[in-house]
Symmetry: C2
Subunit: 153 residues, 2 copies
């Protein structure tokens, strides 16, 4: 996987989050992710096609997801109902949309799918042989892991 694909997704997520919720968003260190990884409970997945193929995950625990949906809607959520899920899908869509615009403005040719949100218990995510890189984003509401696995075609 090309490292060049990762940073724009992290930068865009950081910027969109900084606009969407109050407080400072701090990016942690980049690390390799194993082929099969456990979900924290709430995962938005966005598919990527074009000159590279793969997917981007935004992974967080349930409490973080509830706090972010609450902050974005200006009302407290105590369960992940449809509005909370739609809010998190919208957030993931904004983050990936901004990243792909930046990448394509820089000469890349990538397209993304709309986000799909998976929630559950003991969820494991597996993606064949795709190598993934992950950067944690620390927010005042909890951590969101940005996990990027894009192979050059």
């Amino acid at each position: 996987m090309r490292y060049a694909y990762v940073q724009p997704f992290v930068d865009s997520a950081q910027r969109i989050l900084a606009e969407a919720v109050p407080g400072r968003i701090v990016a942690g260190d980049l690390r390799l992710s194993s082929a099969a990884l456990p979900s924290r409970g709430v995962t938005a997945i966005v598919g990527v096609t074009g000159e590279g193929e793969g997917r981007v995950l935004f992974d967080m625990d349930r409490e973080t997801a509830l706090r972010i949906a609450s902050a974005m809607n200006g009302e407290p959520f105590h369960e992940l109902d449809q509005l909370a899920k739609d809010t998190l899908c919208e957030l993931a869509g904004m983050m990936t949309g901004k990243a792909v615009s930046a990448l394509n403005d820089g000469g890349h040719r990538l397209r993304v799918t709309p986000p799909t949100l998976f929630t559950g218990e003991n969820v494991s995510i597996s993606g064949g042989e795709l190598e993934a890189l992950v950067v944690p984003l620390e927010t005042p509401f909890g951590e969101i892991a940005v996990n990027v696995a894009i192979a050059t075609c």
Copy 2:
């Protein structure tokens, strides 16, 4: 969503399954799927971009997944280890690859991502406002639901 996108995914899944595992594969009736749907436990997701955007899900319960992985590998699987998961990803990749080839040969312009597999308990899948159509495929090993949500761009 255009109905024209659905049938090729169902036909290809049926044909690939008929080659991959013994016994008859019977397609059930098409029905609308709700925006948020429960997973049966094992879900492969493939993203779609191009003239239409969305995702295709292949959803089955754990026992069906284990039986299919066992039949495809010629050895019994008792847990969803990495080889079993890779087998199911490969199956999903073949099913969507064949479908998109057929669609594009017919004049459509679609691309698909590699599959990602989600397994877990009480998993719920939500995709914003995408309308989905689902066809169950009855196999000797259990049912696989082919769930297609592709919006025309």
